[in-house]
C-alpha cells in the first residue's frame, strides 16, 4: 500500500495504549498494537478526532513552526477566519493581523477576504448547476473541509462527483496573493513563504500533499503553537488594516453554517461533527436528500472554530465569530468583491486543481472473488466473537477484529473472551490429566469420580457447586 503523508501522528511516549481513540475514529483507522496506538495511514482522513479524544495528548499534528519562516525572505501569513474567534471578546481582527506582523510575518493576506470571492464562486457554480441539471446528482457538497473531502474519498467514493470543484478559500487567498501582490514586490516566488494559520490538521495534510504537487502554499502553522505569542501582541494593542479587508461575509465562514449563510443559498443544509457528517453522507448516498441543493459539511464540531488545533472552546468561539461577522456586515458581498469574483470566475480562476481519486482503503481485497471469500470469512468469525465491541483486542469493533484476522493482522485469541474460553477448556483438560495416574498406581478417590463423570459424557455437570448453569 502506498504510504500517504499525514499530519496526525502518534507521540509514542505519551500513548498509554488505552482504546479511547480507536472507538472514535470515523474510518476505523487506529489499532492498538504492542501497547501503542498505530494509525493506518491509508485510512486516516486527518479529521483530528483522535487528537480531541486522547486524554494523554499522545496524538499530535506535524506542522511547520515559526522557525520555518527563516527559510524565506518575505513571509506572508494566511490566517483562517476562525483565528479571530480565539481571543477575548472585543479583540478585533485588525489587532490579530497586527499581532501576526509582530511575530514574524511581513504581510498578512486574510483568508476571510478570499472566502468572499469563494462565496461568489460557489454561488455561481450552484446557480449554473441547478439550472442545467435536472436535479440529478443533488445535493452538491462543499469542498471547503479537507477532512470531509477525504472521508468521501475513503468511505463514500460514489459521492466524489458531487464535491463542488471550487478551491477552498485558503488556496484562493494564496492564488490571489500571487496574482495581485507578487508583481508589486521585488522578490522572486521562491523567496516568498506563504503560511496558512490553521485550526486543524486536515489543512496541514492538504497543504503538504499539494506542495508535493507543486502548489502555492508553503506550510501551515497551527493556532495552538502560536497562540501565546499572538496573545501577548494583541494585548500590546497595535492594529493594522489588511488589503483587501474582509467583511462579515468572509469572517462568518469560520463557523458551521457560515458558508451557506454567506452563499445565501436557501435550499442548503449545514452539518458539523465528523460522525454527523458521515451519517448524513450515508443518507445522501441513498438518494434520500435529493430535494436539497447544497450541503455544507464540516468535520469539526461547530465548524472550523472547533478545529482540533484551536485554543478556545468551540461554542464560545462560535458566538464570538457571529458577533464579529455581524459587526462587519455579514449580509451582502461588497459590490467590488462581487465584481472581482465575476471576473475571476469567467477566467476559471476558482476551479479546483485537485485530483480526487477514490481511496479503496476499506476494501477487503482488490480482487472481487478474493474479497467475497474474505467477507464470508469475516461473517463466519462474527458468529464466534462476542459482539461487545469492547476494543480490548486493539481493534475498534468485533467486526473490525474479524476483518483484521482475515487480513492476517490479528488472531482470534486477541479477543479476551475467546482467550478466556480457550483457557477454560485447557484448564479443564489439565485438571482431568492431572487426576490421571498410571494404572500400576491404582485409582484415587477423585479419579474414580472423574471416570464416572466421563462415562456420563457430561462434563458440564461436574462443575464446582457454586457454578450453577441451568
Amino acid at each position: 500500500m502506498k504510504i500517504r503523508y499525514h499530519s496526525v501522528v502518534l507521540d509514542e511516549e505519551k500513548c498509554q495504549g488505552c482504546t479511547n481513540c480507536i472507538k472514535n475514529c470515523p474510518t476505523e483507522a487506529i489499532r492498538v498494537r504492542g501497547g501503542k496506538a498505530v494509525i493506518l495511514t491509508e485510512r486516516c482522513v486527518d479529521c483530528g478526532e483522535c487528537i480531541r479524544t486522547c486524554e494523554n495528548h499522545a496524538k499530535k499534528a506535524l506542522s511547520e513552526t515559526l522557525d520555518d519562516l527563516k527559510n524565506f525572505r518575505y513571509r506572508i501569513a494566511l490566517p483562517a477566519p476562525s483565528l479571530y474567534g480565539q481571543f477575548k471578546q472585543g479583540v478585533m481582527p485588525r489587532a490579530v493581523l497586527a499581532a501576526l506582523r509582530q511575530i514574524g510575518f511581513d504581510e498578512v493576506y486574510e483568508v476571510a477576504a478570499a472566502a468572499e470571492l469563494t462565496t461568489y464562486a460557489v454561488r455561481t457554480y450552484l446557480e449554473e448547476y441547478t439550472a442545467k441539471n435536472d436535479r440529478k446528482n443533488l445535493p452538491l457538497i462543499s469542498s471547503s473541509c479537507p477532512a470531509v473531502v477525504r472521508l468521501i474519498q475513503v468511505r463514500f467514493p460514489g459521492l466524489i462527483p458531487r464535491i463542488i470543484p471550487v478551491e477552498p478559500p485558503y488556496v484562493t487567498a494564496a492564488k490571489m496573493f500571487y496574482r495581485e501582490r507578487l508583481p508589486e514586490l521585488e522578490y522572486s516566488p521562491d523567496q516568498i513563504g506563504l503560511f496558512f494559520i490553521t485550526p486543524c490538521p486536515a489543512k496541514i495534510t492538504e497543504i503538504k500533499t499539494a506542495i508535493q504537487a507543486g502548489y502555492h502554499v508553503d506550510g501551515a502553522i497551527p493556532f495552538l503553537s502560536i497562540f501565546g505569542k499572538l496573545q501577548e501582541q494583541v494585548e500590546a494593542g497595535e492594529k493594522v488594516d489588511a488589503h483587501p479587508q474582509s467583511t462579515g461575509v468572509g469572517i462568518g465562514w469560520a463557523r458551521a453554517g457560515g458558508e451557506s449563510v454567506a452563499v445565501k443559498w436557501e435550499n442548503a443544509l449545514s452539518v458539523d461533527g465528523i460522525h454527523h457528517v458521515a451519517a448524513l453522507l450515508e443518507e445522501i448516498e441513498m438518494d434520500k436528500l435529493n430535494d436539497i441543493d447544497y450541503i455544507e459539511a464540516m468535520a469539526c464540531p461547530e465548524g472550523c472554530v472547533g478545529g482540533a488545533l484551536t485554543v478556545e472552546n468551540p461554542f464560545v468561539a462560535r458566538v464570538k465569530i457571529r458577533k464579529l461577522a455581524e459587526a462587519a456586515n455579514d449580509k451582502e458581498l461588497p459590490p467590488e468583491v462581487a465584481a472581482l469574483g465575476a471576473k475571476l470566475y469567467s477566467e476559471d480562476f476558482f476551479r479546483s486543481q485537485q485530483d480526487l481519486p477514490a481511496i479503496p482503503a476499506l476494501q477487503l481485497d482488490k480482487d472481487l472473488g478474493v474479497a467475497i471469500k474474505k467477507l464470508e470469512q469475516v461473517e463466519g468469525l462474527m458468529t464466534k466473537l462476542p459482539g461487545l465491541d469492547c476494543g480490548a483486542c486493539g481493534s475498534p469493533t468485533c467486526r473490525s477484529l474479524a476483518e483484521d484476522i482475515v487480513q492476517q493482522n490479528a488472531q482470534l485469541s486477541d479477543c479476551i473472551f475467546i482467550l478466556r474460553e480457550e483457557l477454560e477448556e485447557l484448564a479443564s483438560k489439565l485438571l482431568l490429566l492431572s487426576q490421571k495416574r498410571p494404572p500400576a498406581l491404582g485409582q484415587t478417590g477423585s479419579e474414580k469420580e472423574v471416570a464416572k463423570s466421563e462415562s456420563q459424557e457430561s462434563l458440564g455437570e461436574n462443575r464446582s457447586p457454586d457454578d450453577h448453569r441451568e
Partner: protein, 142 residues
C-alpha cells in the same frame, strides 16, 4: 469461472421503525467492503431499502437475503404478511396501501416497488394473499 456466491441474511421485523433501514445499510457496507462499483452499490442499497421498508410497513416479519457472485448480485426480500393482491397495480407509481400511521411518518408515497424496479436489472414478485410476498431483484455488476 465464477466463484460460488456468498449469502448473507438479515432479518426484518414488521412495524419496527427504529431499526428500519439497518438491513439495507448492512448490505451497503458489505458491498463496499468487497469493492463493488459505487453506482451499483447505490442502486442495490436503494432497492434493498425500499424492500426492507415494505416489510416494516406491511408485513409481520421477513428477511433480506444478499447473494453475491463475481458477476451477479441478488437481493431477495421475503416476508410473512398480507401479500399483494394485484402486483400490476402495486407497480404503479403512487399506488399505496400503507396505513395512516405510516403515512404520517412520511411513508406510503407509493414509490417502493416502482423504485425497486427502476434500480434493479431484473425483478420478479411472487405473492400469496394472506401468506406473504417474495421479491427477487437481480443486479449486474460487471
Amino acid at each position: 469461472m465464477t466463484t460460488p456466491g456468498m449469502v448473507l441474511h438479515f432479518s426484518v421485523e414488521g412495524g419496527d421503525f427504529a431499526a428500519a433501514g439497518e438491513a439495507a445499510s448492512k448490505i451497503k457496507k458489505a458491498l463496499r467492503k468487497i469493492g463493488i462499483d459505487a453506482g451499483v452499490i447505490r442502486r442495490v442499497a436503494i432497492a434493498a431499502y425500499e424492500a426492507e421498508m415494505n416489510i416494516v410497513l406491511h408485513a409481520r416479519r421477513g428477511r433480506l437475503v444478499l447473494e453475491v457472485a463475481e458477476d451477479k448480485l441478488q437481493v431477495i426480500a421475503e416476508d410473512e404478511g398480507p401479500g399483494i393482491p394485484d402486483v400490476n397495480q402495486a407497480m404503479q407509481e403512487g399506488f399505496s396501501t400503507a396505513s395512516d400511521l405510516a403515512r404520517e411518518m412520511g411513508f406510503g408515497a407509493g414509490m417502493g416497488l416502482p423504485n425497486m424496479k427502476k434500480c434493479s436489472d431484473t425483478i420478479t414478485i411472487e405473492s400469496v394473499k394472506d401468506r406473504g410476498t417474495k421479491v427477487v431483484m437481480g443486479f449486474d455488476h460487471r
